[in-house]
């Protein structure tokens, strides 16, 4: 799984859009979307929302949590407690996608870009410390209920390399006894 694939999964999340066209229901395999009525909110998968946005057929309604206050609050929670805080599913991927492709539909997008980046930084930092602690403990299991797909993907490569390394060292230590 790489970042593009994470994004692919995140694009299945439903978003609200305001179309500027009218059309009837489209029976997609993933479910019915529409009917579409100009200026009336409709709920579609993110990939479709972005596709329509690119073709100038709609504007996107950012999710509730994508506001300066919303993200600031998330950062506060994250930095004041040790365990990972609960975040919306695919929040990092969606935040990146929306800020990249429809920043004109997102109020305070510049400020949000910085805040989202800060959120990512604090979670990645937390991941580094907990990974080191985990490897040092020799434990074989860790609960991570609030990690998102993006963070898991990020952690996977370095974790794999680190644990292989640790395993080799441990095996050598055992053999030399």
């Amino acid at each position: 799984m790489n970042a593009l694939e994470c994004e692919f999964l995140a694009e299945n999340v439903l978003l609200d859009i305001v179309p500027n066209f009218t059309d009837d229901v489209v029976h997609l395999i993933c479910g019915d979307v529409g009917p579409f009525e100009a200026s009336m909110v409709a709920r579609v998968p993110a990939w479709l929302a972005l596709y329509l946005k690119r073709r100038h057929k709609c504007r996107i309604v950012p999710p509730d949590w994508l506001t300066v206050n919303g993200i600031q609050e998330m950062i506060n929670t994250e930095t004041t407690q040790e365990p990972f805080s609960g975040v919306p599913a695919h929040f990092m991927e969606l935040a990146h996608l929306l800020l990249r492709e429809c920043s004109d539909d997102v109020p305070d997008s510049d400020q949000l870009k910085t805040l989202v980046h800060d959120m990512w930084d604090s979670r990645v930092a937390k991941m580094r410390t907990s990974t080191v602690k985990f490897l040092q403990s020799g434990e074989q299991r860790a609960e991570l209920n609030n990690l998102t797909q993006m963070e898991i993907t990020y952690a996977r490569t370095s974790l794999r390399a680190a644990t292989n390394h640790v395993n080799v060292l441990q095996a050598n230590a055992r053999d030399s006894r």
Partner: protein, 196 residues
């Protein structure tokens, strides 16, 4: 030094990680000769041992030669194996026709392997689905799709190109086009088209 020839085979691949260097027939032959020679020496030593003409300490010589034989054999197989892995990428990145610049670097067995590999893949693809006529091409849609069309510039003269919806385009050098992403994936990978 025992086994040095074989090591050179591996070093050759390491020095050129991204390409397939010309098949080193010469080095391969020398490795074979080295194996044969060591093997013969072992046969002779074994005969001497059994006849009591040499002491039991010669057994370790036998072992050392055998280890060198196995190591050389392993390096040779690894050489073939890794070249095959690089060759495989050609099918996935460029299609089933090898450009002559690549072909000239392969030995006959490798060219044959490539054709058979492509055929195996084709057989697998046509065996997919219940009707077996799905026309699945596993070498396209390698990345998650982002759009239906892509903007491309033609960097080499290609001539006429027909897309899956029947539209014909004349791909002359430096011409710009908006083409169905799926149809031009291969041309992009072959370097005929470039994304703009």
């Amino acid at each position: 030094m025992l086994g040095e020839q074989a090591l050179n085979l591996i070093k050759e691949l390491e020095r050129n990680p991204d390409i397939i260097p010309p098949y080193n027939d010469d080095l391969m032959k020398r490795c074979i000769e080295e194996i044969k020679s060591l093997y013969q020496q072992n046969i002779n030593s074994l005969a001497e041992l059994n006849a009591g003409r040499v002491g039991a300490e010669h057994a370790s010589l036998l072992q050392a030669r055998h280890a060198a034989i196995e190591r050389t054999k392993r390096c040779m197989l690894a050489y073939i194996y890794h070249r095959q892995q690089r060759l495989k990428r050609y099918r996935w990145d460029y299609g089933g026709v090898l450009p002559s610049t690549i072909k000239v670097c392969l030995c006959e067995a490798e060219v044959r392997w490539f054709h058979e590999y492509c055929k195996n893949l084709a057989d697998f693809q046509s065996g997919l689905g219940e009707s077996g006529s799905c026309g699945v091409d596993l070498t396209v849609n390698m990345e998650p799709p982002k759009s239906l069309f892509v903007q491309v510039m033609c960097v080499k003269d290609y001539d006429e190109f027909e897309t899956s919806d029947g539209t014909r385009y004349l791909l002359k050098k430096n011409s710009l086009h908006s083409l169905p992403r799926q149809d031009c994936e291969h041309l992009i990978r072959q370097g005929i088209l470039e994304l703009v």
